[in-house]
Every structure is written in structure tokens, then in C-alpha cells.
């Protein structure tokens, strides 16, 4: 049991626990914090997979900006506990097991995928900078069109959010 294996299982356990907390939490703010926990553990898993740049981007953008936006909206709207509504009583006993069957089906097919045998070990920090340079070269050469299209997409999102959230004057 070496350190990468222990770290992987620890992070996997915490990630799954966070996801279960997201489902079981009664207040939306607790769900939001559970999701931040899942994202942080996923960042550690990206580090184990040898992608430190993506780990940093995940924490800066996803956990540090998108989830802050979620937390803001929850605080602004004063989102309370989950309400009880009248869905059929049969939904939970049938639906939840079927949901888990779906989950197990996903897991089985991914386990059986052709790359299953490959080994992942956290690469040393020797070629981090070179990987970042290669990643940026790919982003600006091969994938230049998606990059520019995404920037226009973000501009549209900003305009859309501004127009939608503006008070009717």
C-alpha cells in the first residue's frame, strides 16, 4: 500500500461521500459545500493523474468562482429547506434502486473499457512546465477556433445574465 494508492482511495471515498451528502442534505447551502468538497478532491485526483495545470484551473475557476456564484445566489434568494411535495409514494422505492442499477451499469462498462489495464502513477514534477507549454501550444494552434468560440460564448453568457437579472425599470 504505497502513498498514491492510499491517497487515491482516501480521495475517492471523500468524493463519493461528498456526492452522497449533496443528495441527502436538507439545506441547499450544505449541498453547495458538499459540491465544493467533491471538486477539491477531484483536483487532488487530477494531481495524481499527472495534470497539475488542470487541477489548478479546476480549483481557481470551478471551486473558486462558479461555486462562489452558487453560494451567492443561495444567500441572495435565502433558499430554505427542501419542501415536501406530493409525488407518488412509489417513486422512491422503485426509483432509487433503479438509479443505483444505472450507476453500476456505468461503472461496469467503464471498468471493461480497453484502457482498463493501463497504470497511472502521479508523475514527478520534472516536466510540469513543459506539459503546460505543450498544452498552451495545443490550445492556441490546433484548438484555436474552439478557444475563440468559447470566448464569444462567455461574452454572450455575461450579456445574457446581465439582461435577465436586471430589474424591470
Amino acid at each position: 500500500m504505497s502513498i498514491p494508492v492510499i491517497l487515491f482511495f482516501l480521495c475517492a471515498l471523500v468524493a463519493v461521500a461528498g456526492a452522497v451528502l449533496l443528495i441527502l442534505a436538507r439545506e441547499p447551502i450544505h449541498s453547495a459545500l458538499a459540491l465544493v468538497l467533491v471538486m477539491s478532491t477531484l483536483a487532488i485526483l487530477y494531481l495524481l493523474l499527472g495534470a497539475p495545470f488542470i487541477a489548478a484551473v479546476q480549483v481557481i475557476v470551478y471551486a473558486g468562482a462558479v461555486m462562489v456564484l452558487f453560494v451567492f445566489v443561495i444567500m441572495l434568494l435565502n433558499a430554505g429547506s427542501e419542501e415536501r411535495t406530493n409525488i407518488s409514494r412509489l417513486a422512491k422505492p422503485i426509483g432509487l434502486p433503479l438509479g443505483f442499477v444505472l450507476l453500476l451499469a456505468f461503472a461496469y462498462f467503464l471498468w471493461r473499457s480497453p484502457v482498463g489495464g493501463a497504470i497511472a502513477n502521479g508523475t514527478g514534477s520534472s516536466n510540469d512546465a513543459a506539459d503546460t507549454v505543450k498544452l498552451s501550444e495545443m490550445l492556441f494552434r490546433q484548438y484555436l477556433f474552439p478557444f475563440e468560440a468559447t470566448s464569444i460564448l462567455i461574452l454572450i453568457a455575461i450579456l445574457g445574465a446581465l439582461v435577465l437579472a436586471r430589474k424591470e425599470s
Binding site: 459545500l33 441572495l76 512546465a129
Partner: protein, 405 residues
């Protein structure tokens, strides 16, 4: 003992972390003392003077007070988040110190580990920004969980301010990264080696002066200090997001704010002021005796105070401080020790200079109104940082002389 020889990296890391934690906690406490003393002297009064020699035991007294105060919890608060928020703020504030190199990487422990940085990552700068961007949660959750109008409003304003100025902070740093071509802290410092015209050190604050000013202003806003401290100003909104906190949790927020200040000062030093490089030319070999000389001058001042003091207990305290300063000064005059501490000495001096600016501004400037603050951040600071980035990038592309060899 076999554990130590089998896992040298782990043991060295644990030792470094413990020493660094101890130094950082002491520095946080004495930073609050320094702030009170400096603001007092700017306002023509003495500040803490009675508790120890020159008030040096004041942080200890404050710590004991915080430990023994009554811990009041608002009744309708979200108990888990209320307790967790200050811990989160303090933990995040202190984590970035692990990535900062305090001295040159050439100084090593006997087993080959770097002595002056706990984690020398190739993407160190990016991880520091990742941790500071998580710092918004401490503030936002503290205000929400206190279940009070003032706290919620203060925390919303404070987190909106932190998120806005974080963008300018990150962009103003990219110019430096372009010039140096790396995100590693030690390489960033090494790229500022050398002199122009034989006496101006090749620090990044000179070619990137706009970036430095943008970074400094954004850093002050990011750490919620004057003139950007409306969310926690006492005359405006009681105490903002930490209104409902008392005793030790309040002390943790307090320490988290100072830890953030130290973090952004460390970053400013590394990126713009040359880190652990000395501003004096390398051929002046006598410069390694400067820390020792400084400590001996401090010891002489305390000796004079010992003689001039009338009260017995205070005289004893001054004598103790004299002995400690004198012993440390003599220790630093040994050439081997002086060579080793040359890097950390200059690093600490630069950080203290930046912190002095912070405290000076707190004593001098009035605060911004919230809408002035937000329009300043988005309408002035962000375009200026972006323009700095674009101009730096244009220079690097079109002027090969500027490119890092």
C-alpha cells in the same frame, strides 16, 4: 530511527512545516503588535507599552484574553458552518506559506532537501492563486451562518469585492510571468538577478511598474484593508461579517486577515521586488554582516533602555530582551551562519517594508464607499491591468532583447 532514514523526504517536510508554522504564528501575533505600535506613533501616542518591555508581551496578553472570553453563539445560526468558517479562513490563509521560498534553493539539509521552501512546485504561482481564490468561502459562509442582517450584508459586499479584485490581481501578475517564462517561484526570483547600469537591481518592479501598482492596489482590496475595508469598517456596518463572532473564532478571523496580508506581501516580494536577492552588489561581501549588525544595534538600544528604566520589573524585561538580541546578533556574525541567513534576511526585510506600507496606509487614508470601490475595481483597475498585459506581450514579441534567455 529507521523511520527517519527510510522516509527522509517526509521527515524533512514535517520538520520544515513545524518550524514554519511556529514562525508564522509568532509573526501573526507580532504583526498585530507592530500595527498597533506604528499606528500609535503616527498618531503621536505610544501604543502598547506596559505589558512587557516596550509592550512586547501584548500579543500574549491578547491571546490569553481571547482564550478566556465567553464564546457566544447566535441561537438561530447554522451551527456547523458557523464553527467551520473561521477555521477555513485561517487554514487557507496559512496554507500558501508552504509554497513560498524564503531563501535560495542552493541551501540544503544534509539529506539533499531544500532548506527554505516546503514545496517548490513548478506551477507554484498557480497554486497560490488557487488557494487565495478559495479564501472567499470563509468570508461568505461566516456572514451567512451568523443569521444577522449586518453580517450577511457585510459578507456579501466583502466577497463580491474579493472576487472582483482577484481578477485584476491575477492579470497584473501575468506580465511578470511572461517576462520570466516560468511559474516556478525560485526561477522567477533567479530571472531578476543582475543589475542595470551596475547599480539598479534587475527587479521586476522597474520594467513592470504599472503591474506592480495594479498588483499592490488589488492586493489591498483582496485582503480587505484600508482604504478598501468598508465591509468590516466599524463606523459603517458594525463589524461586517465577523460581527457575531467572539473570543477564539474572532481571533482566528483576525489572524486569517494578517495571514492573507503576509501572503500577498510574500507574493509581491517574489514577483516584483526580487525575493531573496540582495539589492546590494554581490561583490560587496561585507553585506552578509548586516543582520548581525542590525541585531547588535537593537541590543545596544535595549541596553540603554535597561539603564534608563526606573521600575524593577521593566528593567528586568529590558535586560532579557537585550541579552536575546545581543546573543542573536553575535550568532549572526559568524560567517557560516551569516551566509546562510542572507537570503531569508533580505526576503524578510522586503516583506516588512511592504507591511509597513500597509500599516501606514491604514493610519492615513479614509475608506472608499462601496460603489466607488466596485467601479474602481472594474472600470479602472481591470482595464489598466489588461493594457499592461497586452503592452508587455507586444514588447516581448517585437523586441527580442527583452526575451528571457
Amino acid at each position: 530511527m529507521e523511520f527517519i532514514s527510510q522516509h527522509p523526504v517526509l521527515v524533512a517536510a514535517v520538520v520544515k512545516v513545524l518550524i514554519l508554522l511556529f514562525i508564522v504564528m509568532t509573526a501573526l501575533a507580532y504583526l498585530s503588535y507592530a500595527e498597533r505600535k506604528l499606528i500609535a506613533h503616527i498618531q503621536s501616542r505610544w501604543g502598547p507599552y506596559n505589558v512587557g518591555a516596550h509592550g512586547l508581551l501584548q500579543p500574549l496578553a491578547d491571546g490569553i484574553k481571547f482564550l478566556f472570553k465567553e464564546d457566544v453563539t447566535p441561537p438561530a445560526s447554522d451551527r456547523f458552518i458557523y464553527t467551520m468558517a473561521p477555521f477555513l479562513a485561517l487554514a487557507l490563509g496559512m496554507s500558501t506559506i508552504a509554497l513560498i521560498p524564503f531563501g535560495p534553493p542552493s541551501v540544503r539539509f544534509p539529506n539533499g532537501e531544500e532548506a527554505f521552501s516546503v514545496a517548490d512546485l513548478n506551477l507554484g504561482l498557480l497554486f497560490v492563486f488557487a488557494i487565495t481564490s478559495l479564501g472567499v468561502y470563509g468570508v461568505a459562509l461566516a456572514g451567512w451562518s451568523s443569521n444577522s442582517k449586518y453580517s450577511l450584508l457585510g459578507s456579501l459586499r466583502s466577497s463580491a469585492q474579493m472576487v472582483s479584485y482577484e481578477v485584476s490581481l491575477t492579470i497584473s501578475v501575468v506580465g511578470v510571468v511572461l517576462l520570466a517564462g516560468t511559474l516556478n517561484f525560485n526561477d522567477l526570483i533567479q530571472s531578476q538577478h543582475g543589475y542595470w547600469l551596475h547599480f539598479i537591481p534587475r527587479w521586476n518592479c522597474f520594467p513592470q511598474i504599472v503591474g506592480f501598482l495594479c498588483y499592490f492596489v488589488a492586493a489591498i482590496a483582496e485582503t480587505n484593508r484600508v482604504p478598501f475595508d468598508l465591509p468590516e469598517g466599524e463606523t459603517e456596518i458594525v463589524a461586517g461579517f465577523h460581527t457575531e463572532y467572539s473570543s477564539f473564532k474572532f481571533a482566528m478571523f483576525f489572524m486569517a486577515e494578517y495571514a492573507n496580508m503576509i501572503t500577498v506581501s510574500c507574493l509581491a516580494t517574489i514577483l516584483f521586488l526580487g525575493g531573496w536577492l540582495s539589492p546590494l552588489p554581490d561583490r560587496w561581501t561585507w553585506q552578509i554582516y548586516l543582520p548581525g549588525a542590525g541585531l547588535l544595534i537593537l541590543a545596544a538600544y535595549c541596553a540603554w533602555d535597561t539603564v534608563a528604566e526606573m521600575r524593577g520589573i521593566a528593567r528586568l524585561q529590558f535586560a532579557v530582551v537585550t541579552l536575546i538580541a545581543g546573543g542573536a546578533g553575535l550568532l549572526c556574525l559568524i560567517p557560516a551562519v551569516a551566509e546562510t541567513i542572507k537570503g531569508p534576511f533580505w526576503f524578510t526585510t522586503k516583506i516588512l517594508a511592504i507591511l509597513f506600507f500597509y500599516i501606514w496606509m491604514r493610519a492615513t487614508l479614509p475608506r472608499f464607499r462601496y460603489d466607488q470601490l466596485m467601479s474602481f475595481g472594474w472600470k479602472l483597475l481591470l482595464p489598466v491591468s489588461l493594457a499592461n498585459l497586452v503592452i508587455t506581450a507586444a514588447f516581448i514579441v517585437f523586441w527580442p532583447l527583452l526575451r528571457h534567455p
